[in-house]
Amino acid sequence: MFDGWDAVDLARAQFAFTMAFHIVFPAFSIGLASYLAVLEALWLSTGREVFINLFNYWLKIFAVGFGMGVVSGIVISYQLGTNWSAYSDKTGPIVGPLMAYEVLTAFFLEAGFLGVMLFGLERVGHKLHFLATSMVAIGTLFSAFWILSANSWMQTPAGYAVNPDGQFVPDDWLKIIFNPSFPYRFVHMVLAAYLTTALVVGAVGAFHLMRDRHLPGARVMFSMAMWMATLVAPIQILAGDQHGLDTLAHQPVKIMGMEGHFQSHKDGAPLYLFGLPDQAAGEVKYAIEVPKLGSLILKHSLDAPMAGLDTVPREDWPPVPIIFWSFRIMVGLGFLMLGLGLFSLWTRWRGSLYESRPLHLFALAMGPAGFVAVLAGWFTTEVGRQPFTVYGLLRTVESASPLAAPAVGSSLVAFVIVYFIVYAAGLTYLFRLMAQPPHHGEQGPSHAPVRAAGITPAAGVAAEGAAR
């Protein structure tokens, strides 16, 4: 099996597959950990029971998602060695320490306090437990900091030298860590994580409000989620725009691919709203374009000239159709999120936030939008980096392990089978948890067996009724 296949293509497919399944969980965990810290802080400061109920409700969901993120993350860290050994040898002196700092400052912090956060409320008391929750939340942010620094360095390498063995070696660590695209990418990703979580929380809240618009937990979570969408979506669009301008400055070829600019435009480049990029022919077919808008957005001038892929050797072109579309999906979803936020603001002002069925349906439909946008954005930036692993310096084909295609192909098949089993089960459990309404006296993960054996949903509803 797999004889005659290209081992590098299989390795890329394996990375894309395992990473796509991994990235959605950290994106969710970063946002959810912060949300949990906020809920616990609100509970401690106001003493209102609804906050601890919500905290325990989302904590159970966090526990399942976090575990799936951990195990899929270990796969990624070892895959750099197994499938991308030449990359590891050449970039290890720079990327390695950044990832080591991620382990030391983030993974241990999250893992060390996770047990107490999940199971320890009765054992350590409120203040220490809140400390544990906060440490987990901070850990997820540290993790994002280091891994995005490493990723950004691959996009916009800085502060390095090359030694006689062909390795990238550090010259200035501050320049490496705070490389040109890092601040933009970090802000963009953390905001994306917050939005993703807000949309999930909002969808779950909407789902339960449609069944019972008086449910206190559903009302509070829905309102909080809609505030997040209202406030963060516009900020995210601005941050994304800034990130794009930074990419134009440092990776103009990626922008040409994202925009489908095969040809150079001397007096103002169009914005293609839709079209079918044809990589071989070097043109966008069936294009619907707005003249000069591309230059206006990217150069803030209608007539600014913009170079196209015709100025770049073909062997350095990224796969244009993929990033052209993934970019549009991401941006489109971003504007839908903005729309949801504005719609919720309007209903809030009208006083029908908890009653508006169109809003609830919209929020429910947008539940997975954050994940899709994160994946689309990630495809845009990573596929747009091709055909390089370290942009402009190290080609993907020079990064792979000296392995035969059957080895890489077999492990790919193994991961696909395992992930489908594990993720199918995990998503089933997550949906089952989310389908339960948050109720009065909600228990955390520490009482899962008791809950599973004893309190039925009916009893929960009755208790909720009694609380009102």
């Binding site: 050994s85 060390g112 594990v422 067996p449």
Partner: protein
């Protein structure tokens, strides 16, 4: 700082991280290996609850070990990972199944839960065997040309690597059994005592066979252990193994709940020291030394600063987490 041998410091740091991993994840992989021997649901719940709050932190040391090699000895990482391709993939798949089982088993109906119990047991055994096989494959050496691994993806498969795979699985099972002695009571503990006896003899046998077989792999291993004056340093290792084994037997006989686990860890530490004596200063035996594989000083120094500050902190709050969940785990009063 120019006179300091950073490569050796980093070899010790990574050896430390890997050892902490073995200490901490060894027993919880061992619990998975022993799981089929405890068919009672109540026993299984207690066993799971005894590690549920800490398993995630335990596995983080594996990420530090792997990531540390990439950062401090990138050439060794680049050569060893493709050489260990199949065992590494098997280990990852084993860790996925056992990792998710900790949460998933609580979210299923009774018949379903057994499925995740199988995933927990099978995944643990697979991960343990794969780690032992990887160790054996490293010891027997890999085919290197230039800066690349130049062998095939089944080169690791030899009787010796299978032997080390089984040996590590037995060792982890012993750690798991003595952990149960420490953390449980009643019939569960009694059964764990019983298993500990059997597993201790199996582990001593495994240590013996691996120790006898290793010198036959390469003449360097023989010279390292059996030439004068090296023997001044190497002879105490087997003597210490015998002494710890005797203490362990006594603690099992006298039913001192708090001792067998830590004495089993001492056995692991001694075996590990023996491994270090055999390998040093090679990181890929017979091919690449730690100095040849080392990343530049600026990389190693940059990380050393972080390690010096953060590892003590990590050990501090990890100990706190263990302290919070200290004592015997009782059925029904678990944190799950």
């Amino acid at each position: 700082m120019t006179g300091i041998d950073l490569a050796t410091i980093w070899a010790f740091i990574i050896a430390f991280a890997v050892f902490v991993y073995v200490v901490m994840d060894g027993f919880d992989l061992g619990l998975g290996i022993l799981f089929p021997l405890f068919p009672e649901k109540a026993d299984r719940d207690v066993i799971m609850n005894s590690v549920a709050p800490v398993w995630d932190g335990n596995e983080t040391w594996l990420v530090l070990g792997g990531g540390g090699v990439m950062a401090a000895f990138p050439l060794a990482y680049a050569v060893l990972m493709p050489a260990l391709y199949t065992p590494m993939i098997a280990m990852l798949i084993g860790l996925i199944f056992r990792g998710v089982a900790f949460e998933f088993r609580w979210h299923t109906s009774q018949s379903h839960r057994n499925r995740w119990d199988i995933a927990f047991a099978g995944g643990s055994l697979l991960a343990a065997l794969a780690q032992g096989i990887a160790l054996g494959a490293i010891l027997q050496g890999v085919h290197v040309e230039g800066r690349h691994y130049a062998g095939g993806w089944w080169d690791w498969l030899t009787p010796f690597s299978i032997l080390t795979g089984l040996a590590l699985a037995i060792g982890y099972a012993l750690l798991g059994a003595t952990w149960l002695v420490l953390k449980t009571e009643g019939t569960l503990r009694d059964k764990a005592y019983h298993l500990s006896w059997f597993l201790l003899f199996a582990m001593l046998g495994a240590i013996g066979v691996v120790s006898v077989a290793t010198p036959f792999l390469h003449i360097q291993y023989t010279e390292r252990w059996f030439t004068w004056p090296n023997m001044i340093l190497t002879a105490p290792v087997p003597i210490a193994v015998a002494a710890v084994a005797a203490l362990l037997l006594r603690s099992l006989a006298n039913k001192r709940d708090n001792q067998p686990f830590f004495l089993s860890l001492a056995l692991f530490a001694l075996s590990y020291a023996g491994l270090g004596i055999s390998m040093y200063p090679f990181i890929v035996p017979q091919s690449i030394t730690i100095w040849q594989a080392a990343s530049p000083r600026s990389s190693q120094l940059f990380m050393l600063a972080g390690v010096a500050v953060l590892i003590p902190l990590i050990l501090g709050y990890t100990s706190w987490a263990y302290w919070v969940f200290r004592g015997k785990v009782r059925a029904g009063s678990g944190y799950h």
